[in-house]
């Protein structure tokens, strides 16, 4: 089974994150950049599939030069190799453009299963798996909390607010996962050493046959027009109990639709 895991490098969600004042993009230079948390669950799921069914696991990343750190980190968990789409013209690419580039890369690899996190911690759009599946003409099994494979049949439990739905599709398919699906392993020291020797193929837009006009700032159909800092949290409302504090609390909770 050929598995590709999409890995995105994002600013650490545990640290202070900012948008750049000049072009409204995520400021990646001041942040500690890490693997998008949900993608680690996708990597773990891919490795479990590989352990159960054999085959190979490839990491696919689109991102600037420094995204190679995240690729090495991902490889240290156990995947066999990686593809890094790296091109200066990609700066400013929106989700639609990203899906165009990743779809082109996936067509070269031709995997049975494409695994990815259900969302990224920076953009959080949850749209990429669907866009990719549409472009590739394959099924999208999104928001999985469980994945099982029988032959060429994939079955997921799609997590919903009320419970879960069982969704099946034949391979090839895109599967996006939530952090409820497994517990990602830590890299091992040996894995870190081995990762340094694993093949990482770097591809440009030209390699993928995608023109620079279709991506980047020029190709973007969506963009961030402006941004401002979230206002500081306002002081809370104090309820002084002079005999009817309970009533006031209930009124507050009802007005705010907490109850």
């Amino acid at each position: 089974m050929k598995i590709v895991v999409l890995v995105k490098q994002v600013p650490d969600s545990g640290a202070e994150r900012n948008l750049r004042p000049d072009d409204n993009t995520v400021d990646r230079s001041s942040a500690n950049n890490v693997i998008n948390e949900m993608d680690e669950y996708a990597i773990e799921e891919a490795l479990r599939l590989q352990e159960a069914h054999g085959g190979e696991v490839t990491i696919l990343t689109m991102g600037p030069e420094r995204a190679s750190e995240s690729i090495r980190k991902a490889l240290s968990m156990g995947p066999d190799g990686a593809v890094h789409v790296l091109d200066n013209a990609l700066s400013g690419t929106d989700a639609l453009g990203t899906s165009r580039v990743l779809a082109a890369a996936l067509q070269r690899i031709n995997p049975d299963v494409v695994l990815c996190g259900a969302e990224s911690t920076d953009a959080g759009g949850q749209v990429l798996p669907h866009m990719l599946a549409e472009r590739l003409g394959i099924a999208a099994l999104t928001g999985a909390r469980k994945l099982t494979v029988e032959g060429s049949q994939l079955t997921i439990e799609r997590q919903t607010e009320e419970g879960y739905e069982v969704v099946t599709a034949a391979t090839p398919a895109v599967v996006s996962v939530w952090d409820t699906i497994n517990e990602p392993r830590y890299p091992s020291f040996k894995g870190i050493m081995a990762a340094k020797k694993k093949p990482v193929e770097t591809l440009s837009l030209a390699d993928l046959g995608v023109s620079a006009e279709q991506v980047g700032w020029t190709g973007a159909l969506t963009g961030v027009a402006s941004h401002s800092k979230r206002p500081p949290r306002s002081a809370g409302q104090k309820v002084a109990d002079s005999g009817e504090g309970g009533v006031q609390l209930v009124e507050f909770l009802t007005n705010e639709k907490f109850v």
Binding site: R185, Y186, S188, F189, K190, I192, M193
Partner: protein, 382 residues
């Protein structure tokens, strides 16, 4: 947290230290209170560390070790101890328990046991001390009598870390006459008939680490589990202890660093008389002294480790490192409780735990009095 600047010998050592910080922050720091509170041994966490390669750091790659020099291994221990001393101690004890087979085992013994020992699947214990004495190990009284292809062991071992959770026990027992030359080393599996783990000690600290007596009642250990030659046991035990002392020094440095980091953050946050208490010289000087002492202890520990790594005699330096680092950790953790004042005396803040844990480091792997004896004797000899 003040970051520790580390001089490491290789790029891979930097990777290992990064991995250790990740494990320390994500696994240990999150779970320490829960396990210490319950007094539960974190076997699964130790297994996770084993799978990440942290249980066989100083041993050869051909048996699944990471072939790291002691100067790197000790810094890993130090980082783990800064989050959870019992886990660092567990790794130090386990590494010590692998020492006899790794250094004195036959090729067959190494092939048979080391991969699982170093991979974290088998956990080790080290049985040298006895109820009648730990410091005077050469006079131990546990006996092993050979009958055909088995040794029958009788006696009681005391202060055994991992008692009841270990998969194998290094047992030092008398197979010959009195004195150090009559002692041998046997590797007893935990399911040996006649090996009995006694009631768990109610320790002051390191509560997640089980310590108990282990008694041997005609416990039969196959002869192919003799490590080294008969009569070599004391030499093996002392060699392992030199390395073990460095492990305890690393635990002490890490413990003190953890206490300092916490107290420093607290002192920046806590205000009295309208200013952060770290801006009062009385507090800042206490923190500065602690920081200085920790750096000195780390430097001494690493000096001893580098001597070992380069094949020089290091046992006296190891004794100094263990002595200085553990006395330092006692002093520093006492002072860090003081920095927090009343808050430091309650279990809501980890300095209370660090303080209780520091004490044992002055006692184990040779009391600090024994370390002084060792150092003093070496001076008398010169």
């Amino acid at each position: 947290m003040a970051s520790v600047v580390r001089m490491l010998p290789t790029p891979e050592a930097h990777d290992l230290i990064d991995l250790t910080y990740e494990l320390a922050d994500k696994e240990l720091a999150m779970k320490v209170d829960e396990f210490e509170g319950r007094g539960e041994f974190p076997r699964e966490i130790i297994r996770t560390l084993g799978r990440s390669g942290l249980l066989g750091l100083p041993y050869p790659a051909e048996y699944g070790g990471a072939e790291q020099p002691y100067e790197v291994y000790l810094q890993v221990l130090e980082i783990l101890a800064s989050r959870w001393a019992a886990v660092a101690e567990a790794i130090s004890v386990h590494t010590l328990a692998c020492y006899p087979v790794a250094h004195h085992g036959t090729p067959e013994q190494r092939q048979r046991w080391l991969p699982e020992m170093l991979g974290g699947e088998l956990l080790g214990a080290y049985c040298l001390s006895e109820p009648a004495g730990g410091s005077d190990a050469a006079n131990l009284s546990t006996r092993a009598v050979k009958d055909r292809d088995r040794y029958f062991v009788n006696g009681t071992k005391a202060w055994i870390t991992h008692a009841g959770v270990a998969d194998f026990y290094n047992v030092f027992a008398r197979t010959g006459g009195p004195g150090p030359k009559g002692i041998s080393c046997l590797l007893a599996p935990s399911d040996t008939a006649g090996l009995h783990v006694q009631a768990r000690e109610r320790t002051m600290g390191l509560k997640s680490s089980p310590v108990a007596q282990v008694s041997f009642d005609d416990a039969a250990v196959p002869e192919d589990r003799l490590v080294g030659q008969e009569g070599e046991g004391f030499r093996i035990a002392m060699g392992a202890l030199d390395s073990g002392r460095l492990g305890i020094a690393a635990c002490a440095v890490g413990l003190a660093q953890g206490a300092l980091d916490y107290a420093t953050a607290y002192a920046k946050d806590r205000t009295q008389f309208g200013q952060a208490i770290i801006d009062f010289q009385a507090v800042a000087f206490m923190l500065a002294d602690a920081d200085t002492q920790i750096s000195a202890a780390r430097a001494l520990m690493l000096h001893a480790a580098r001597l070992r790594d380069h094949g020089h005699p290091y046992s006296i330096e190891a004794a100094k490192a263990k002595l200085f680092a553990s006395d330092m950790a006692m002093k520093v953790t006492t002072d860090m409780v003081q920095v927090l004042g009343g808050a430091g005396y309650v279990a809501d803040h980890p300095v209370e735990r660090y303080f209780r844990e520091a004490k044992v480091l002055q006692i184990v792997e040779g009391t600090n009095q024994i370390q002084r004896l060792v150092i003093g004797r070496s001076l008398a000899k010169d």
